[in-house]
Amino acid sequence: MLEVLELFDRPAVLHSIYLIGSLILFFIGLYGLLAKRHLLKIFVSIEIMELAVYLILIAIATTPGETAPILSDGFTAFTSMSDPIPQALTLTAIVIGVAVTALGTSMAIQYHRLTGKVSVGEMTELKD
C-alpha cells in the first residue's frame, strides 16, 4: 500500500496526473464553448479553459518537496525552491482573465436588458 502511495508521490507520475486532469478540464471547456448557446455558459466554458491552462503551468513547474522561494530564517540559499516565475505569471493571467470575464458578462447583462435574448443563436442583428 505504502509503495503505491510513494509511486504517486514521484514527480513524473504526479505531473502526468496533473497534466491529464488539466487537459480533461480544457476539453470540457472546449466542448461547452462549442455546444452551448447560452451567453453565460459560454463565458463559464471560456473560464474553464483558461483555468486548465493555469493549472498546467502551475502544476508542471512545481515538484513536491520544494519550498516557497523566500529567503528567511533557516533558508539562506536558493536550493530546492520552486520556480517563482510561473506563479507570478499565473497571478497576472488570472487578473487579466477576471477583467475580460467581467467585461463580457456585463455586456451580456446589458444585452439581455435591451433585447431579452440570452443565446448567441438569436444574435442576428448583424446579418444581412
Binding site: 498546467i56 513547474a61 435591451l114
Partner: protein, 493 residues
C-alpha cells in the same frame, strides 16, 4: 535637466494620459489631448529614424535580457509605431472635428482608444513573450469595449461576439506561451529562439499550431475570420478604422515576427502560411462580391488585403517583404479613409445598404469622390501608392520565378475591381430624386483628415523613394534573425 526619450514613451505616454482622463474632462481638453498625443508620438517616431537606421535601440527595464524585460526598437517596430500613431491621429482628428458620434468624444472612448494604441505599440516593441501576452490582452479588452461603446443592440452584439472569439484566441496564445516556458524555462523571445530548435519536433509542432490558431483568429486569417464582418458591421466605423488600420497590422507583425525568429529556417512554415494567405485573399474577395452592406463589403475587402499581405510576408524574401510592409502602410491609410467615409455616409443615410445609397454623389460629392480615390488606390492603379506596393510584391515573386502568387494576386485585384465599381456605379447612378438635405453639423472641415490621407496616398504613389530605404531596412530587420539574436543576447556586460 533634459528629458531623455526612450522607447518606453510609446507605451507610457498614452497610458499616463489615459489615467489622467478626469483632469482632461474637467479642463475640457479630451479631444485636443487625444489628438496631440498621437501627433507627438508620430513626430517622436520620425525624429528617431536616423538613430534607428544605424542600430536598433534596446531598452532594458530593470534587469538585462534574457532575465529582464526589454523593448526592442528597430526599423520595423519604428515603422509600425509611426503608422499606428498616424492612424490614431487621423481618426482622433476626425472624431474631434465631427459633430455627430457624441459617445466617441466622452471619457470611456478616450481612455479605450489610448489603451488600444499603447497596447499595439507595446506588442510591436516588446522582447518578452509574456509581456506580449499582457499587451495582447490590453489591446483585446479595449477593442472589445470599443466595439460595444455605442451600447445599443447592434453594438452590444458586436462587442459580445468579439469578446468571446477574442478571449478564446487569447487562451490558445497563452497555452502556447505556457508550453514554451515549461519546455525552455525562458520568456525572452531571443532566448526562446535559441532554445526552440532543441525541443522535440512534436512539441514544436504543437506550440506552432496553438500560436497559429490564436494569432490567426486575432489577425483575421481564414478560416478563423468568420466573425470579422459582424464586428465591422456592428461597431462604429470610426472604431473599425482603428481595427483594420492598427489592430490587425499589430497582430500580423507578431505572427510573422515570431515565425521568423523562432524558426531557424522559415521555409518550413512558408508553404503553410502562403496557402493560408492565398485562401484568405481569394475567399474574402469572392464573398465581398455579394455583400449588400457597405461596412460588410469593406470588412471583406480588408480581409482580402490582409490575405495578400500574409501571402507576401510568408514568402520570406526581402523584396516581397518590403512590398508587403509598404502594402501594410497603404492598406492602413486606405481603410482608415474608407471607414471614415462610411462614418460620414452613415450619418447622412442612416443605412449603408446598396439599395439605400443610390445617387449618393449628388448629396455628398466630395465623399463619393474620395471613395473612388480610395477604391482606385486599393485596386493598385497608378498614381496611387497601392500600385507601387503591389508592383513590388509582384516583382518580388516574379524575380524568383514563382508565378502562382502573381496570378492569384492579379485575379484578386480583378474581383476587387468588380465589387468596388459596383458600389461606385450605385453612388453615381442617375436618380430623379433631388439631393437630400444636408444633415445638421455636416461641414467641409470634416473632410480635412480624409484629404490629408488622400494627399499622402498620391505623394507616396508618385514618390515611393521617400519610404523605400526605411522599408528595405524594416524588411531586413523582420527577416534578420541572427542580427536580432546578437543584438539582444550577444553583447552582454
Amino acid at each position: 535637466m533634459t528629458l531623455h526619450f526612450t522607447p518606453v514613451w510609446f507605451i507610457a505616454v498614452p497610458l499616463l494620459l489615459a489615467f489622467l482622463a478626469p483632469l482632461w474632462v474637467r479642463w475640457r481638453l479630451l479631444m485636443p489631448v487625444l489628438f496631440s498625443a498621437q501627433v507627438a508620438l508620430f513626430v517622436l517616431a520620425l525624429s528617431w529614424l536616423p538613430t534607428v537606421r544605424i542600430a536598433p535601440i534596446l531598452e532594458t527595464i530593470v534587469i538585462a535580457p534574457p532575465l529582464g524585460i526589454h523593448l526592442h526598437l528597430d526599423a520595423i517596430a519604428l515603422l509600425l509605431v509611426a503608422l499606428f500613431s498616424f492612424a490614431g491621429a487621423i481618426v482622433s482628428a476626425f472624431i474631434w472635428l465631427d459633430n455627430g458620434a457624441a459617445h466617441l468624444r466622452e471619457r470611456p472612448a478616450f481612455i479605450l482608444m489610448l489603451l488600444l494604441i499603447a497596447g499595439s505599440n507595446g506588442m510591436v516593441l516588446t522582447g518578452d513573450i509574456f509581456n506580449l501576452y499582457v499587451f495582447i490582452e490590453i489591446v483585446g479588452v479595449s477593442a472589445y469595449a470599443l466595439a460595444a461603446i455605442r451600447r445599443d443592440k447592434t453594438a452590444l452584439e458586436a462587442g459580445l461576439k468579439y469578446v468571446i472569439v477574442g478571449s478564446v484566441a487569447a487562451i490558445f496564445i497563452l497555452f502556447a506561451i505556457v508550453l514554451l516556458y515549461l519546455q525552455t524555462g525562458q520568456l525572452n523571445i531571443a532566448a526562446l529562439a535559441q532554445a526552440f530548435g532543441n525541443m522535440p519536433a512534436q512539441m514544436q509542432l504543437l506550440i506552432g499550431l496553438l500560436m497559429l490558431i490564436g494569432l490567426s483568429i486575432k489577425a483575421e486569417l481564414f478560416p478563423f475570420n468568420f466573425w470579422v464582418p459582424d464586428i465591422y458591421r456592428g461597431s462604429d466605423p470610426e472604431i473599425t478604422a482603428l481595427y483594420s488600420g492598427v489592430l490587425v497590422k499589430a497582430f500580423l507583425f507578431v505572427l510573422f515576427h515570431l515565425t521568423f525568429i523562432l524558426l531557424a529556417d522559415p521555409t518550413v512554415a512558408r508553404n503553410w502560411l502562403m496557402a493560408l494567405g492565398a485562401i484568405t485573399m481569394i475567399v474574402a474577395e469572392l464573398v465581398a462580391l455579394r455583400q449588400n452592406d457597405l461596412r460588410r463589403m469593406l470588412a471583406y475587402s480588408s480581409l482580402g488585403q490582409v490575405g495578400l499581405i500574409t501571402l507576401a510576408l510568408a514568402f520570406a524574401s526581402e523584396a516581397t517583404t518590403a512590398g508587403a510592409l509598404f502594402h501594410m502602410v497603404n492598406h492602413t491609410l486606405i481603410k482608415v479613409l474608407l471607414f471614415l467615409l462610411a462614418a460620414l455616409m452613415l450619418r447622412q443615410y442612416a443605412s449603408l445598404k446598396l439599395t439605400d445609397v443610390h445617387g449618393l454623389s449628388r448629396t455628398m460629392p466630395l465623399a463619393a469622390g474620395l471613395f473612388v480615390l480610395g477604391a482606385l488606390a486599393v485596386l493598385g492603379l497608378p498614381p496611387f501608392s497601392g500600385f507601387i506596393s503591389k508592383l513590388w510584391i509582384l516583382k518580388g515573386f516574379a524575380d524568383v520565378q514563382t508565378f502562382w502568387p502573381v496570378a492569384l494576386i492579379l485575379t484578386a485585384a480583378l474581383i476587387e475591381a468588380g465589387y468596388y465599381f459596383r458600389w461606385i456605379r450605385v453612388f453615381y447612378a442617375p436618380t430623379d430624386a433631388l439631393p437630400m438635405a444636408k444633415i445638421e453639423g455636416e461641414k467641409t472641415l470634416n473632410y480635412a483628415p480624409l484629404l490629408v490621407i488622400a494627399g499622402l496616398l498620391i505623394v507616396l504613389g508618385v514618390a515611393p523613394f521617400l519610404l523605400e530605404d526605411w522599408l528595405q531596412q524594416a524588411a531586413q530587420a523582420l527577416l534578420g534573425r541572427e542580427a536580432l539574436l546578437n543584438a539582444v543576447l550577444g553583447v552582454q556586460p
